[in-house]
């Protein structure tokens, strides 16, 4: 039964993709392209492109995309539920333990060692997003390949956020509009 197959495949993806985002990609490919042949390799590449261009985690996007293609909206639902089920159980369990035992000395000490690392990991994700924005997919990071319009947009956004305390979502939308505007002017 196709719904059950979709559910089980994405359950595995949800259960074994640690570290988020791109870490899930090879797993998805293994299930969707190699094991079941639900997508061809070029369809899979398209899926990754779509995922980069739209909101939402790659795993959820894939579940929806593959599910719809193979078995319509019910298929998409089966795949998506399979994909998030492991998260729901495991995260809720850890959150429950955290809220119950967070006053323990050991846990406090673990958390105080983890907090600065979390800041660092968020910073690192920010750096890779900026590298991909400023230099696109070009292999090397060099002065001449820099897309200065995006650097300028970045600077304006930082100013709007820090100085004028503008709502981040509006800042992001404005950044998109500015880029589209630049390219219209630039021809």
């Amino acid at each position: 039964m196709i719904y059950l197959q979709l559910f089980l495949s994405f359950l595995q993806i949800g259960l074994f993709s640690f570290g988020g985002g791109y870490a899930a990609m090879p797993l998805i490919q293994g299930q969707v392209v190699t094991a079941h042949g639900w997508l061809t390799m070029s369809e899979f590449t398209d899926l990754i492109t779509i995922s980069q261009m739209t909101p939402g985690p790659i795993a959820i996007n894939s579940a929806t995309f593959v599910g719809i293609k193979i078995a319509g909206v019910p298929g998409a639902l089966a795949a998506t539920i399979g994909c998030i089920l492991p998260s729901c159980v495991i995260v809720t369990l850890i959150a429950w333990l955290y809220l119950k035992y967070r006053n323990m000395d050991t846990l406090q000490s673990i958390l105080s060692s983890l907090r600065p690392a979390v800041v660092a990991m968020i910073a690192s994700a920010g750096v890779s997003i900026l590298i991909s924005a400023f230099w696109g997919s070009s292999a090397s990071v060099s002065f001449t390949d820099t897309r200065w319009s995006l650097v300028l947009i970045f600077a304006v956004c930082v100013l709007l956020l820090r100085k004028f305390k503008m709502n981040p979502i509006w800042v992001m939308i404005l950044a998109g509009v500015m880029k589209a505007g630049f390219s219209l002017i630039g021809g």
Partner: protein, 189 residues
């Protein structure tokens, strides 16, 4: 905290709204959640938010989904987790369903691709701003171990591309060692 129903409605609407704009991966939604729930609603403290992010980070699955679950659970228990997960799933589900129908047209549209490129720079700015605030918080704690952990983790993640799972595990180990050492010191007194 205000009555449960109001919290759930606000949680649903804000998670839905955040999820619709999480271009660029899980850390974006996490930074936006921090802005919303810590800075705007004051439902969660900053340190607690970092703990919740660490939980989202160390469990399997997408960070955005895990983040929604921990925040929802913390605010309103299982119902809260369910509320925020449904709200997080709806936008990508609807958008991908539509796109899978119109993919060819969507992909070749120049304005859309320019718009999305620009938004990347905007997302980078949002993350930079939040990291600046949180990093300043760590620096002001004047705790040498914390500052060292922050710098070393950044180098590991950004320069050496170490899988975040290992960074989380090392920090957990460090935390345990620090408690043990601390307890020995206390016992020795």
């Amino acid at each position: 905290m205000k009555n449960r129903k109001e919290v759930l409605i606000k949680l649903f609407i804000s998670t839905l709204y955040l999820s619709a704009f999480t271009f660029g991966g899980g850390y974006v939604i996490v930074t936006l959640m921090k802005k919303k729930f810590v800075d705007e609603y004051h439902w969660i403290e900053e340190n607690e938010m970092l703990d919740l992010v660490a939980i989202a980070q160390s469990a399997p699955g997408a960070i955005a989904v895990n983040g929604a679950i921990v925040v929802g659970y913390k605010l309103a228990g299982l119902i809260g987790a369910l509320t925020s997960i449904i709200a997080t799933i709806i936008p990508p589900f609807v958008i991908i369903s539509l796109i899978s129908v119109f993919y060819a047209a969507f992909r070749s549209n120049v304005v859309i691709s320019e718009l999305l490129e620009g938004m990347q720079a905007g997302v980078g700015a949002v993350i930079a701003s939040v990291v600046y605030e949180m990093g300043a918080g760590v620096a002001q704690s004047r705790s040498l171990p914390s500052i060292l952990i922050m710098i070393l983790s950044f180098i590991a993640a950004c320069v050496f591309q170490v899988n975040v799972i290992y960074i989380v595990l090392v920090c957990i180990g460090l935390g345990i060692v620090r408690t043990v050492l601390h307890n020995r010191k206390e016992a020795g007194k």
